[in-house]
Amino acid sequence: MRSLLIAALLAFASLAGLDHDRDPDSRGVFQVIAKAPAKWRVLKNPYDSSPDAIAAGEKLFRQHCAECHGDDALGRGRAANLHLAGVQNATSGELAWFLRSGNLAHGMPSWAGIPAQRRWQIIAYIKSFGVKPDPSASNVPASLNGRH
């Protein structure tokens, strides 16, 4: 019984102690995306602009991504705004690498458990947003704005 209590206390202390939304700055994410290996950077999305793939990608986005990035993909807390140039100007290959690899140290899980085909569909959906003006221009480093 004592160990049960200790375990429960540990679990809840951990729950309370960690703050998943601590860092509202997306720059780290954009910098990691920019580090994609060259062989990934040039990959083309096999589903590029396909209406079915975009619809499937939207469904998958709501299942896996919307909780952190928001239904509108405008970002929340440390989860990046996916309409920003740092994401929209990245190549599909760079985004494919980032989705597969994640950025575990900064809260972005690896999505390698989802088949590659579904990750490409999510990317087709994200790319369908196009670039929107950044309301807080400081979110994107100048070096990453419009670099493609």
Binding site: A16, L18, A55, A56, E67, G102, I114, Q117
Partner: protein, 315 residues
């Protein structure tokens, strides 16, 4: 062949009588209560975890997500009645590289006195030491177990564990408590939709027993790799098939296959878009030391952003 070892009527009769026991109800129904409570303020997520019951892959719980799971195992055994051992799991993604899990185990042996018992608790942590995806992805696993000898969940098989260990009556087995430290090195890869996972297990009874070793390997794949444009329940993208094999490898003093038990089990899982996942796995024992037949089943429910929503209640 299965007709001689799997007795569905006995299983149903046993479950019906066990369901009247308060302890059994707690383990089986508590997850349902938690899910209903969670539904009041949280939304569901579709997990990307693999469907294994024993093997682990490198896919951890997403940060701040909570998965409530109830699993059971039915097993045949020589020298005693067959058994059903349900357990409840609460799995939480503390960070993208750290998942923690808490278990409550119970067990019902058919036909014996004192036949339904709580058998203990376990507290597990899994860590990804590398912050990006690689060809082979290691995960470090540490678990503290406070269980009794009556625990029959068979979440891992180590040392010379065999079916005769489980023949002791619950009334005596449940009096003997063991504190164990279980460690695993999990290696896992994804390739063209397949997941391939290998686990190397080392378990130490903290009461001056030697290290015991075991293994588990698993392979799985969704039936369809692409997503469909519309949300659907009965479509191939929601179905995952796989298989796992696991067994003991002896102890530090006698590292050997002699006297060890081994199992092979196909797995089917059905992931619904509303956050529920149903899993089923019939397993066959390989050799005389193994239970001849094991049937595992489970239901899990994943709550998106549970931690964030919990914290928002206490601004």
């Amino acid at each position: 062949m299965l007709g001689s070892v799997f007795r569905p009527l006995q299983l149903l009769r046993g479950l019906a009588s066990a369901a009247l026991d308060l302890r059994f109800c707690v383990v089986l129904l508590a997850p349902l209560g938690l899910v209903l409570a969670a539904l009041a303020f949280a939304s569901a997520a579709v997990a990307q975890e693999t469907p294994y019951f024993v093997a682990y892959s490198h896919h951890l719980e997403e940060p701040a997500n909570l998965e409530i799971e109830t699993y059971s195992i039915y097993g045949t055994q020589k020298g005693a009645g067959d058994f059903v051992a349900p357990w409840m799991e609460l799995e939480y993604g503390l960070t993208a590289w750290w998942t923690t899990e808490f278990y409550i185990d119970s067990q019902h042996t058919f036909g014996g006195p004192d036949s339904t018992v709580f058998t203990g608790t376990r507290f597990e942590n899994r860590f990804r030491p590398l912050m990006h995806e690689h060809w082979i992805n290691p995960v470090l696993y540490v678990e503290f177990e406070n269980t009794t000898d009556a625990d029959k969940t068979l979440k891992e098989v180590v040392g010379a564990d065999n079916q005769f260990d489980a023949a002791q009556p619950n009334s005596t087995a449940n009096r003997h408590h063991t504190h164990e430290l279980e460690t695993k090195l999990i290696l896992s890869s994804d390739y063209k939709g397949w997941n391939i996972s290998e686990n190397f297990i080392g378990e130490k009874n903290l009461g001056h027993q030697p290290w015991e070793f075991g293994y588990a390997v698993g392979v799985s794949r969704p039936l369809r790799l692409e997503g469909t444009p519309r949300a659907c329940n009965f479509c191939r993208e929601n179905m995952i098939l796989g298989a796992e094999m696991y067994g003991g490898l002896g102890t530090a003093k006698a590292f050997s296959l002699s006297g060890t038990s081994h199992y092979i089990a196909p797995i089917a899982a059905w992931q619904l878009p509303n956050g529920f996942t149903f899993s089923l796995s019939p397993g066959l024992g390989l050799g005389d030391e193994s239970h001849r037949f094991l049937l595992r089943w489970g239901v899990s429910y994943e709550i998106d952003g549970f931690g964030r929503k919990l914290r928002s209640l206490f601004p």
